[in-house]
């Protein structure tokens, strides 16, 4: 990890959470999350359903608003501007600008069904970054080839398998040249035999030095790829550290109980 930090010439973490709280009404979903993801690092979040993993992920790109604590992406406060000792709600236009550099991949792909695979990938570069269509198309073709779908450029999402759709979704996120990729259970909606093809693409991304935060139930992937594993339960980080150590030798009772069920 230290290696990648010096390679990028800065030691400012890509994601920094300080005591992040999130409630939905009276329901407390996140109760003080503190963690940090370095540049080029892969952080995997595991834990039972309802433990707040996805909510935390959605806070990082401001799909949810943090209620207390501070969350920084690349040194910039997420969702608010701080002037003096007061926080001001961010204008939607500013929030959209912050999200541009953060790619997100959803459990249910959320591809645009009325656009072909290629049109899905070029949509945001053209609309948001105002890139010329020819340039965006050329780049999109490269990205589709990178995820192994060069021949599916003209297919509509409904004509693709789940694994293919998720790979298009990854290409769509990469088309914005993000500095950070968020994966929200990217393989949970897939048939077992299709999981591998998506994980292969993610493994390749990690190898190329992409900073990634991955909510997953794929313990094998976490052990192999993650630099840091975080086990969450009931809105708090129960245990974190080197994935091999946490998985092989969990310290907490709750971690042990959870891992005994999924491993």
């Amino acid at each position: 990890m230290n290696e990648t930090v010096t390679k990028n010439g800065t030691d400012r973490p890509m994601v920094k959470a300080e005591e992040v709280h999130k409630n939905f009404g009276a329901l407390k979903v996140l109760r003080g999350i503190t963690l940090s993801v370095g540049r080029g690092e892969v952080l995997c979040m595991v834990g039972p359903s309802g433990s707040g993993k996805s909510t935390f992920l959605r806070c990082i790109n401001h799909l949810e608003t943090v209620n207390a604590g501070r969350l920084y992406v690349d040194g910039v406060l997420v969702g608010y501007t701080e002037r003096g000792d007061r926080l001001y709600e961010l204008h939607p236009r500013e929030a959209a600008r912050q999200r541009r550099d953060i790619g997100m991949v959803f459990q249910h792909f959320n591809l645009f069904p009325h656009r072909t695979a290629l049109e899905n990938v070029i949509e945001a570069p053209i609309q948001v970054k105002k890139i010329k269509k020819a340039a965006a198309t050329a780049r999109a073709k490269d990205l589709l080839a990178q995820v192994g779908l060069a021949d599916k450029a003209r297919a509509y999402p409904a004509q693709l398998s789940g694994g293919q759709q998720q790979r298009v979704a990854i290409a769509r996120a990469l088309a914005m040249d993000p500095k950070l990729m968020l994966f929200d259970e990217p393989t949970s909606a897939l048939d077992p035999e299709l999981v591998g093809e998506v994980l292969d693409v993610m493994r390749q991304l990690a190898k190329e030095g992409m900073t990634m935060v991955v909510v997953t139930h794929e313990m094998g992937f976490a052990r192999e790829v993650a630099d840091q594993l975080v086990f969450m339960d009931a809105g708090v980080v129960v245990e974190s550290g080197n994935p091999r150590e946490v998985l092989a030798n969990p310290q907490h009772e709750r971690t042990k109980a959870f891992l005994s069920k999924v491993l």
């Binding site: 799909l63 959803f106 959320n110 645009f112 069904p113 009325h114």
Partner: protein, 309 residues
């Protein structure tokens, strides 16, 4: 394991088709009944076909048909613009906007369009003049509408405002039919609210919006026959009634009006078909004929290359 080569493939089945005697009898009865009706209509003097043909392409009728078309198009434009606005207001988190839209719907959908048209006809007796400016302070413009005699304008306003209430519900249903994940995916890519609506939500909502809107257009074309309530008497139905009142032949002239309405609705139905087809792209797994042909070619190729091995 056996290799499936073309030589061992079994013959395509050529079965004797089942005879559907019941269906055939029913079809024959329907044909006979329709034939009898057409024969009766052609020979019945009450239909007065010579008058029908005389007035079908009468210039007064075709001019009135143009008025009906103008009424339809203008009031639909007004209805759609106002309807989209109302739909967005109803989906707004702001309570004032939301309830204002609800009250509008409540009134305009809850009263008959005929009654509303009579009201618009009486507008000038309710409001003597219209002022533009800041209330109780600055007056920018003053219109005396007492001499304002424009039944056509009031007919368009009356039909359009009524239509807006229905269009608002259609648009709202369309927008809410697009999954939350679509908005989230767009937002996560850095798209603004306007971009998300224009590029992601509305194109998908169109699939739900177009069919009922087509119905609304067709329905509007026919509702224009109520503008006599304003009263406006230059539209298709009013004009055919005028003529039949003079020549004392209501039935052939009703048929003339019906023919023109049917002609317009048929054209609208064709337009609707193509619009629906356009907005349905990507909604089905079914492959197009071109895609199927490409897949079949690929299959043949891969089988041939296997055989060579």
């Amino acid at each position: 394991m056996t290799t499936g080569t073309v030589a061992t493939e079994p013959e395509t089945i050529q079965a004797v088709p089942l005879r559907h005697y019941g269906r055939w009898t029913a079809a024959a009865i329907v044909i006979i009944l329709v034939g009898l009706f057409v024969y009766g209509a052609a020979t019945n003097d009450a239909y007065d076909w010579s008058t029908y043909w005389k007035y079908l392409f009468d210039q007064r009728i075709s001019q009135a048909a143009v008025v009906t078309l103008e009424l339809t198009v203008l009031s639909m434009i007004l209805g759609i613009i106002l309807g989209v606005t109302l739909a967005v207001m109803r989906l707004s988190p702001n309570a004032v906007l939301k309830s204002a839209a609800w009250v509008y719907l409540w009134i305009f959908r809850g009263t008959p369009v005929y009654v509303q048209l009579v009201f618009w006809g009486l507008f000038t007796s309710i409001y003597q003049h219209v002022d533009l400016g800041i209330p109780f302070a600055v007056q920018l413009a003053h219109f005396n509408i007492q001499g304002f005699d424009a039944p056509f304008t009031f007919a368009v306003i009356g039909l359009g405002l009524n239509e807006a209430a229905y269009m608002a519900e259609i648009v709202r249903a369309g927008i809410t039919s697009v999954g939350e994940g679509q908005t989230e995916a767009s937002v996560a890519l850095g798209m603004t609210w306007v971009q998300t609506m224009r590029r992601t939500v509305l194109p998908q909502a169109m699939r739900v919006i177009i069919p009922p809107t087509g119905n609304e257009v067709i329905s509007m074309l026919k509702t224009t026959s109520l503008v006599v309530a304003v009263p406006l008497t230059t539209d298709l139905y009013a004009k055919t009634r005028d003529i039949s009142g003079v020549i004392f032949r209501p039935i052939p002239l009703l048929l003339v009006a019906a023919t023109w309405y049917l002609f317009f609705t048929s054209i609208l139905m064709i337009g609707q078909y193509y619009l629906e087809k356009y907005f349905a792209r990507g909604s089905t797994r079914k492959l197009t004929r071109r895609q199927l042909a490409a897949l079949a070619d690929a299959q043949v190729e891969s089988m041939e290359s296997q055989e060579k091995r």
